[in-house]
């Protein structure tokens, strides 16, 4: 029992972390950013959590190690470089999530729907659900559409 637990928690994470760190370093270099501890740690949070994060979430995770201001600036830098995108939410908290490869500095293409679970409060990028185009009234010209869906996510539905 104890060995099983060890195997599940430790053995796989050691090589994964190596891979992940290299992946993160590559991503930073590809984005012409210098590789610093705070950037690595913050990116690591995104890759590990695999859901959208608020500034406050990140501060909880790495706030002892890095200053609030550094986190703000790092997130802004990542947005500028096309590494993460922002998600507007109905209750007006800014969330951030990793972009797919198609985004680059100054040019985001995150035209997917976002989903917020009312139960577990996690926010997901529904990468495969594209925001539909809609007919605008006369002389209104749409350049960007944000669609945020709230409800109950698959995990919460399964466990109830």
């Amino acid at each position: 029992m104890f060995r099983v637990l060890l195997r599940m928690e430790f053995l796989p994470t050691t090589p994964n972390n190596k891979n992940l760190e290299q992946k993160i370093i590559d991503l930073l270099k590809r984005s012409s950013l210098s590789v610093t501890d705070s950037r690595k740690k913050i990116l690591e949070s995104f890759f590990q959590k695999n859901s959208a994060l608020a500034h406050a979430d990140i501060e909880l995770q790495v706030g002892d190690e890095f200053d609030r201001v550094t986190i703000y600036r790092t997130l802004q830098t990542f947005v500028d470089k096309g590494i993460i995108h922002t998600i507007p939410t109905p209750d007006n908290a800014v969330l951030y999530a990793l972009c797919k490869d198609s985004c680059s500095a100054g040019h985001h293409h995150d035209n997917h729907v976002h989903f917020i679970c009312d139960n577990c409060n996690k926010t997901y990028c529904l990468e495969h659900v594209v925001v539909p185009t809609i007919a605008m009234p006369n002389n209104f010209i749409a350049s960007q559409i944000d669609m945020v869906v709230s409800g109950v996510c698959d995990f919460c539905n399964a466990s109830s």
Copy 2:
């Protein structure tokens, strides 16, 4: 010249204001709210501007007369009573706009698309553009959908 200006600004607004004030009083009573100066003035702003307002906009208009806190509480009360609804925006400012008659205390039905003009920065309720339903991934259940479109509004398009 001077008389024309007077006619345009004063004559029509006097009867309109009377009508408007009565309309506002009726709305407050219908919502089981006592009729106070701040509530009247704040509602008046919404009816006159005819576009979404932020707390800051309202504070600019009536901030000399009423306290910041009163404005916050009044807006919250109006939302609770189904008089105004909130609009989530990509840049994370809370906006408020008048509801149609179908909303009531605790039950909003504002399933229309919102439009934010990048040029004049006004936000509109596109009452006639209903938010489309979309197919959710397996086991995700949608209960609410927010759709916010940015671009250039009809007025800004006409004047360029």
